[in-house]
Symmetry: C2
Subunit: 357 residues, 2 copies
């Protein structure tokens, strides 16, 4: 299923049987690099976990099995939030995760996943590949013996599930919401109470009233968690995560042992999975949205007053964290300049088009 | 410069010198496949032509030069609009072009570049990779001994350059505009006079008043053509081309001679260049837009009345061409269903987010 959908997504027209037993002029070559990939997602979790498997399979195939990668779901080898340290120390050669988990290393990490009211997926890729973003990311992670590569994107997320209607800022006062990272910090300053919970704990906490609200990802992943059974109001847009990049972490020492064609194969596979995962989410979110609409829920847009307030707070928060260390400052300046420049173009291209389509 | 920017875009940290002289454990292997790539773009034309070079270089590097591709700009080997036939017959193994040029083969081709009021770039990729689009494209091109792969995207284009303000539908009456393909057909039914001109002829025609208006691509390419010197009004959005996919055409016979790892290398390189070119355009369009704003031009949004009329006509035109042949019908149904399903998701994700950012 996973392998089949991967091959289908590559658009190849070979028969499945022939893929599973690749015979080529190089089939006699021995595997030279047996690598591990640790991830922050449950094995084969829709979108994220499948993306990790696809990345590993793609590197295997492109390298004609000269690199052979074994993927570990969260908690199979290490807990989900130890991916960074584990790959940094060489426990695994590869990791698949999200950069905002590593804000403890430097607040600057968060700019490489998603920033409240920041860049969307298309703009993020433009900043990373052609706006200097990836270079700064390499500088940041280089200090930890890591090389980062964009390797997936969920696209714009949803604002989350709420057990009551959110009509004005007063409805946020004391609201207990599962929302980690920068979004949580912003909510807190608007009067809410951010709560940190692992994905597996969300459903029960919401259903029992331990929390009043939660964000997760979007229809595709939210449906899988059954969140529509625990709260009635589903709000958009996902102001806090408008196009999160998913990362591949590569142990630098291991990368440097590869011949250059294999280094390019790793880099290029990440790039292909970056667009592939976003396409997967875009195609699946709408089907899941249709399903959710058939349930007893209310899908609503956040009131403009709330968006204006949260935007204002977000800009303050980003400015504050930029003073933490010099690399964060450098990343902040680059990201902000890029957003300032790209926004007028997005205004008259994608935004204008979507508003008249 | 071209090679340097390609390498930079891959985000690799090797020194340029070492790239130009790749040494690896496989460096002793001989080139097995000397391939030609013909394109519809001038050699190294910003965005499109650079994308073709990047694609060829990437395949060379990933295959460790087992495939070695020589790229030909338009008119170097054949005229730009003979790419399809030339690759189909095996004159070259690869082509880099746009599917709407081949509407003479079947009107269905046009769905694989861009459709007026159709899918944007992110939605297009979702349809192609995960919505059945690429499978239909393979079916369509298969009859011509060709395999298609998405291999670039310009992102949303601009509405074009006009020598007068466009205030209402009456301003379109008799308006001579260079706008090919489906956009031209729609304009014609709204009272305009579509004109077909090669890119190289546009500037003079606009400056001398032979035409009243022209569309081209967007700020990045339009600036290179100096169009801002020939007309004052620059309109958005590009309703006729909201996210054109650029294609790689592969001669099927040649593809089938490749071992499977090299087939995957060709496929994956196309996928990586698909996101790479869109990132390039997104990063460069805004810089070019800033430049254009410093010139004596007026950047304006089309009046809603005109958009409503052109949208209505576009739906009619698409429906009409769908009856031309059975494969076009099949493509039309798939594309339309996908758009109908994905639009509600884009509404509450990217569109909603861009409207509150």
């Amino acid at each position: 299923m996973k392998r089949r959908s991967f091959i289908k997504s590559l658009g190849s027209s070979f028969a499945l049987a022939s893929i599973l037993n690749i015979k080529s002029s190089h089939a006699e070559e021995k595997t030279q690099f047996k690598w591990k990939m640790v991830t922050s997602w449950p094995k084969n979790f829709p979108g994220l976990g499948v993306g990790a498997e696809n990345l590993a399979n793609l590197i295997n195939i492109l390298s004609n099995n000269r690199i052979k990668i074994k993927v570990f779901g969260s908690n199979e080898l290490i807990p989900p939030l130890e991916v960074f340290d584990f790959v940094s120390k060489g426990g695994a050669e590869l990791g698949h995760s999200g950069a905002y988990y590593w804000k403890g290393k430097s607040p600057g990490c968060q700019f490489f996943s998603s920033v409240p009211f920041g860049l969307n997926a298309q703009e993020m890729n433009a900043w990373l590949y052609y706006g200097g973003g990836l270079k700064l990311w390499e500088k940041l992670y280089g200090a930890f013996n890591l090389i980062p590569r964009p390797a997936g994107n969920t696209g714009a997320q949803m604002g989350g599930w709420f057990n009551k209607e959110i009509k004005s800022l007063s409805d946020l006062q004391g609201l207990k919401m599962r929302i980690p990272g920068l979004g949580g910090e912003v909510l807190s300053r608007a009067g809410g109470v951010p709560v940190t919970l692992a994905g597996s704990e969300i459903f029960t906490a919401l259903q029992t009233g331990t929390i009043d609200a939660t964000e997760w990802v979007g229809p595709y992943n939210d449906r899988a968690f059954g969140l529509y059974k625990a709260a009635k109001y589903y709000y958009f847009p996902g102001w806090h995560e408008p196009g999160p990049t998913i990362e591949c972490l590569i142990n630098k020492t291991a990368y440097n042992t590869l011949p250059q064609d294999l280094q390019f194969i790793v880099d290029t596979a990440c790039k292909a999975i970056n667009i592939d995962m976003l396409s997967d989410y875009t195609a699946k979110n709408n089907l899941a949205l249709q399903y959710l609409k058939s349930k007893n829920i209310v899908i609503k847009e956040f009131p403009r007053e709330i968006m204006n307030k949260l935007r204002y707070i977000s800009k303050q928060v980003m400015k504050e964290i930029s003073t933490h260390d010099s690399i964060t400052k450098e990343i902040y300046v680059s990201y902000n300049n890029f957003q300032k420049n790209v926004s007028p173009w997005t205004e008259i291209s994608d935004k204008s088009f979507l508003n008249i389509r």
